[in-house]
Symmetry: C2
Subunit: 337 residues, 2 copies
């Protein structure tokens, strides 16, 4: 069915003719064609919740940049919203939750999210599937329970996430209850994404890096593993930003691919994760360089991953002010390696 | 002269009767006695620039919390200010530089800072010295050149520091020039702090963690080493937050002590840095726990560092909403171990 399944082969650890490449945040942010769609709408959330348009911006980078996979345009915060905690996306500031979770009683306002509560994303995947017509695979995604928990407790972003981390010390029982609800919601959501056509799924643990190793095992990795082990239909990728201390532990997670951020030492990761495919990890700021520099940096990165199953990507979502021509240069540099 | 020189002995790798303990950000933030001094002033900078008051809040934690060292109350951003780039401290938002550095021409407005431009901190150290009367050592400090560079280019804090990191790719020559100016300014500033009475100095590389390993060596560690090797008078500590990837390279830096953040694996650090004293690294959020929990967490941390020269501390500055009684509990737990 798929004309290009390089990324699935690489994820399964199979031999590939060349390294597949895509970019986190490729849908949205950098393309003028995306901004044109976005400009017609009231806001970011309207785009997330309008399947035809979400599918349109999902397909754009496949057409315009030549990436080897489409990632569905959505947001990790659709899960807390489907659980009963609505959020606003404040322009240039980020997400804001008017209500947050701080007591056991607050859990009463929450429910386990059902896929039908997130029908807009499921529909967006179905439409994308039709529009792509087998050109490249579709990546589905969700936030890791710890990252979603952080937003639900903090009410938004934070420098230290000290409010969310405080709860882990003060009320591990409440923390566990909430993390379990998020985990259960996420499993059925990812399964619905797969049923609608997602060929692989990625779990984003954006705030992994704020936890000490012991807490990371207890309050993040445990729930990631529950999700990963529940998904046997497609390959799973885990990207735990900043959790270099947990790389070795990723061996015990039922995922095929581990994402590396741009700080992570590739040699070390290869040694620690001999049987996992690695994804990443060019510094997103390398795309501010000249075309020659970008080609050189991309090739150097590929040199580092040599001898290991690899999916090329940046080590973070592409930054909003990146020139799309520079992104194309990066993609071409990987393809021509 | 010094009645308690535990921290200096530990820094030099000598045997100590018990592990010395202090907290990053112990001066300021948490004590009501600090807030009382602060409330009488127009703002944070007035306190930094008034030697008698800076000395007063420097001594407070020695009297009130029982720490084994005083760290001079100041800010790492006094260096860019003394170089010609003034900043404002915006309440609840952080520092803001009205002018920033983006071109070679912008360097013309800068000069190498001279210690007399920072006389207020030097005087604060002299007054602190008198007031402490040998009770505990005084720690002087400065920001690492990369961290100071980041502020001077970005104009304030940032999630990604992509503007500062962009310059490293686009104009390594300009980056080097600015980093050299900061380095030179910092060396003479730290030497003046030592001449005034600082018994040890710490270099804070707060934004170490945003650089890929290659850039960290080239644009941060190189200049830290220039500073560390210029200071032979007193022991030097380097705290590079988030730079787990550079722990091994710290062996090549002429510092006695390496600070660990709360994400860092202590066992790993002990192996990588057999001849350095290690400082840290309790999760600052552990101080939100109960008194029993804090004692337990502090003792567990001390267990981990066993067999290695160690200065007890948190893995980050103490968070502003921490109960001073909980801080005392942490300090007592270290002392009674």
């Amino acid at each position: 069915m798929l004309k290009n399944d390089l990324i699935l082969k690489a994820a399964r650890g199979e031999k590939v003719d060349r390294t597949p490449v895509w970019l986190m945040r490729q849908a949205g942010r950098i393309l003028p064609e995306y901004r044109a769609v976005r400009a017609k709408l009231s806001g970011f959330k309207e785009l997330v919740e309008t399947p035809e348009l979400a599918a349109e911006v999902t397909v754009q980078p496949v057409d315009l940049l030549g990436v080897d996979a489409a990632i569905i345009f959505s947001d990790i915060l659709v899960i807390p919203e489907a659980m009963g905690l609505t959020y606003e996306m404040v322009e240039k500031k980020g997400p804001h939750f008017p209500n947050t979770i701080s007591t056991h009683k607050d859990l009463d306002q929450l429910k386990i999210a059902h896929p039908e509560d997130l029908q807009y994303t499921i529909d967006a995947i179905s439409i994308t599937k039709k529009e792509l017509n087998g050109r490249v695979p579709i990546i589905g995604f969700a936030g890791a329970p710890w990252t979603i928990f952080s937003y639900m407790v903090e009410g938004g972003g934070s420098k230290t996430f000290s409010k969310a981390r405080k709860m882990l010390y003060n009320d591990p029982e409440l923390s566990d209850k909430l993390l379990k609800m998020i985990t259960e919601s996420t499993i059925s959501y990812l399964k619905a994404q797969i049923a609608a056509g997602a060929n692989m799924v990625q779990i984003f643990d954006s705030w992994a890096g704020v936890l000490p190793p012991g807490h990371y095992n207890q309050f993040s990795l445990k729930y990631i593993q529950q999700i990963a082990s529940a998904i046997s239909e497609v390959p799973v990728t885990v990207f735990a930003k900043g959790a270099y201390f947990a790389l070795k532990e990723m061996n015990d997670v039922s995922c095929r691919t581990v994402g590396l951020d741009w700080n992570m030492d590739v040699e070390e990761a290869k040694k620690l994760l001999p049987n996992k495919t690695l994804q990443g990890n060019l510094d997103p700021c390398a795309l501010y360089g000249s075309f020659d520099q970008i080609e050189q940096e991309a090739h150097r990165m590929l040199d580092r991953f040599k001898g290991h199953s690899h999916i090329a990507n940046l080590g973070h979502g592409v930054y909003p002010d990146t020139d799309p021509e520079k992104v194309k240069c990066f993609i071409e540099a990987v393809k021509s390696y």
